[in-house]
Amino acid sequence: MSATTVSAAHAVPYSARRKGRAARRRRWLIRVATLLLSVVILVWTIMPIYNMVMVALEAEGDVFGEHIWPPKPSPRSFWIVVSQGYWYLEYFWHQFGNSVFIAVMTTLLVLSIGSLTSFSVARMRLKNGWLITNAALLTYVIPASFLAIPFYLIMNHYGLHDNPWSVIAALVTFATPYAIFIFQEYGRSIPLELDESARIDGASPVQVYFRIYLPLMAPALVAVGTYALLLAWNEYLYQFLLLSNKRSMTVPVALAQFTNSDQAPWNYMMATAIIYALPPVATYYAFRRRMSSGLTMGGVKG
């Protein structure tokens, strides 16, 4: 930059030529730098994922070895997983179903509880409602793993031990504050007069909520819903602590079982992991554009 400013003081034709060359060199340099950086980013991002795929394609005994490409690649592991052909995986689809159930329930609850709360506080202007919003924010900033131990113990008191609802409760607890936060922020863009005129027309708060508030909030609902879905799908610690039976487990917990036994067929484990990773990746890409509208402070906890 400084070179260009200095050169401007010199004679025009010479400096123009130099300037042109310098600019071209700069463009070229930027392009090379971009390319190099791209390669670095690509390798950095892909390597662990490649490792997953490689292990999944290997035969059991080849997992420990000195190669960077599977000696005899075979999709057999994937077939074993989907056909539940190994005893750790005997409930794979059941566990997959548990994951889906927990994710869907969490999403629905987060959306309904979050939108009701923010409707009441931000739209109906419930007095002292900000107390709730603040309290919610406070939850939002407690690291989820810090509450894991007491949470686990109190689930005994609630009689929810080894029950998917205990996990749903935990996930709702940690995702709803984010939802309230986003809904309130997003709701500011919707004029209050809409609610008011509906009220004057005799609509009850419930009707206002369903007919006006929810439709207008659709983008925020999609964003938060995707967030809650991904959170529930990715969460491990609570699911691990709260679910212990093979039939009540979710896939991440079942995956972790592979690491604490004497017999650990890693190729099956990674094949399971890849299959499990497909839905969130698909969800993310499907809603990527809409998500950016509500993006996205809280990202993901845990």
Partner: protein, 458 residues
């Protein structure tokens, strides 16, 4: 959780009606009820099948119902910890991990099951009986706080093909401790000479994760004459020069083998399964690791199954036999259990030699009996067709054994869980300490921990 659901009552009463005509010699009370049982998931599927079969059998005979969940190791540990902490307990679970029998007995959280033990007392090995005989610091006395039903020890697992590939022979393995393990250093040298870049001679788990390293240390300690580290009265004997010397040796050999490159470098941070994985991938020639799960894991692959050689322990460096430290899985009934009678009744049923034998056999013999008569009366256990089982039964049931040190004082469980000895290995392997210095540091910590667990002396 423990409450009776309508269905279980119906099930139980149907069972009672069905069993009315059957003889029930071991049933103390005929009232049919349900007990909640948490049972540990096996390392091979057959173990789970074995437990299900046993339960079905028992329900048929007794009319009682066992509401059981089969739970993997890690969550089991958490479930038990929180159940005991919160007081909402099942009626029966196992000592998973092993030392909780001593820790919870200490805290007066378990029922004394001497009456159950009494029904088969004569059958048990002395080690099995000792394994359940723990100290209650509230009542200031010892008692049988668990009912043993299997035994497990650490045999040596060796790939014959790797030994032979190095130009050595299994039959040439020396018979005394240090020479025995030195042999595998030569095997590694032989393999390196033949172009194997990353195969290691010794699969020592010199890590700070899981139970493997604790066992490994204890085995080396005992082999070097340090088994008096904790005496039966619960006292620590680090003042005994023989114990100190043995501890230093037990720190030295594996740590030096590691430093000299005979143990995979990654072993310093292995998980419980990693040694097995490395072994199955034929990246280590031998592994000293608990039970014959290593072999049973490949039982359906005959070539590999036959290629593994299972061996008991070598003699000590002085030529005397080395006792194996045996872990005994026990059934425990926590205080606060709602259906103590059913749980006890099931345990009485479960430890009858015939029932126990059937259960362990169905589990492919990965766990061996805690009763010598079982192996002596059923030729299956010493059937020469299966070299692994013969070696394992000979070592763990018929050979000399001693119980875990934490049976005598749970402080040792704390020592193990803190991985005091593994940390000392690491101090030597990568921290630049001498074994003596690392040992002194470890001794200090061990003494601190034992100070928190005073056992009253009568």
């Amino acid at each position: 959780m423990g409450s009776l659901s309508r269905r279980s009552v119906i099930r139980a009463s149907l069972g009672l009606a069905a069993s009315g005509s059957l003889a029930r010699p071991h049933i103390a009370r005929a009232a049919a009820t349900t007990a909640t049982v948490w049972w540990i998931q096996g390392f091979v599927q057959e173990e789970d099948i074995a437990f299900r079969k046993t339960v079905t059998e028992y329900q048929k005979i007794s009319g009682n119902t066992l509401d059981f969940s089969i739970i993997p190791f890690a969550p089991m540990r958490q479930k038990i910890v929180s159940a005991v902490t919160s007081g909402l307990v099942p009626d029966l679970f196992q000592n998973t991990p092993g030392e909780i029998i001593a820790l919870y007995a200490w805290d007066n959280k378990l029922l004394d099951l001497s009456d159950v033990i009494e029904t088969q007392r004569k059958e048990y090995t002395e080690t099995a009986l000792l394994s359940a005989y723990c100290y209650n610091s509230i009542e200031k006395r010892r008692g049988y706080y668990g009912v043993p039903y299997t035994t497990g020890v650490l045999p040596n697992h060796i790939w014959r093909s790797l030994v032979e590939k190095a130009g050595c022979k299994i039959e040439d393995i020396p018979k005394t401790w240090d020479a025995y393990y030195d042999f595998f250093k030569d095997v590694q040298k032989g393999l390196r000479a033949r172009g194997e870049r990353k195969v290691y001679g010794l699969g020592f788990q010199v890590t700070t994760n899981g139970v493997d390293p604790m066992n490994l240390f204890n085995y080396f300690l005992i082999a070097n004459g340090g088994q008096n580290i904790v005496s039966k009265d619960g006292r620590l004997h680090l003042d005994d020069p023989a114990v100190r010397e043995a501890a230093i040796k037990a720190l030295t050999y594996p740590a030096m083998a590691y430093k000299e490159g005979y143990v995979p470098p990654g072993a310093i941070n292995w998980n419980d399964a990693d040694d097995n994985n490395a072994f199955h991938a034929k990246q280590i020639v031998m592994d000293l690791d608990g039970t014959i799960s290593t072999e049973v894991a490949v039982i359906h692959n005959e070539d590999e199954y036959k290629d593994i050689v299972t061996m008991g322990l070598p003699l000590g460096n002085d030529g005397k036999p080395v006792p194996s430290q045996a872990g005994n899985a026990c059934g425990l009934i926590p205080k606060g259990a709602k259906n103590v009678e059913v749980a006890k009744d099931f345990l009485r049923y479960f430890i009858q030699p015939a029932v126990s034998n059937e259960y362990l056999k169905t589990g492919l013999g990965r766990n061996i009996p805690a009763m010598p008569s079982i192996a002596k009366n059923d030729p299956w256990w010493l059937d020469p067709a299966d070299q692994h089982r013969v070696a394992y039964v000979t070592q763990g049931l018929l050979g000399p054994t001693i119980p875990n040190f934490w049976v005598f004082n749970p402080a040792y469980a704390q020592v193990q869980n803190e991985h005091v000895w593994s940390v000392a290995w690491t101090d030597v392997m990568t921290g630049g300490m001498t074994p003596q210095a690392a040992a002194e540091k470890a001794f200090k910590r061990v003494e601190e921990i034992f100070a928190r667990y005073p056992v009253a002396q009568s």
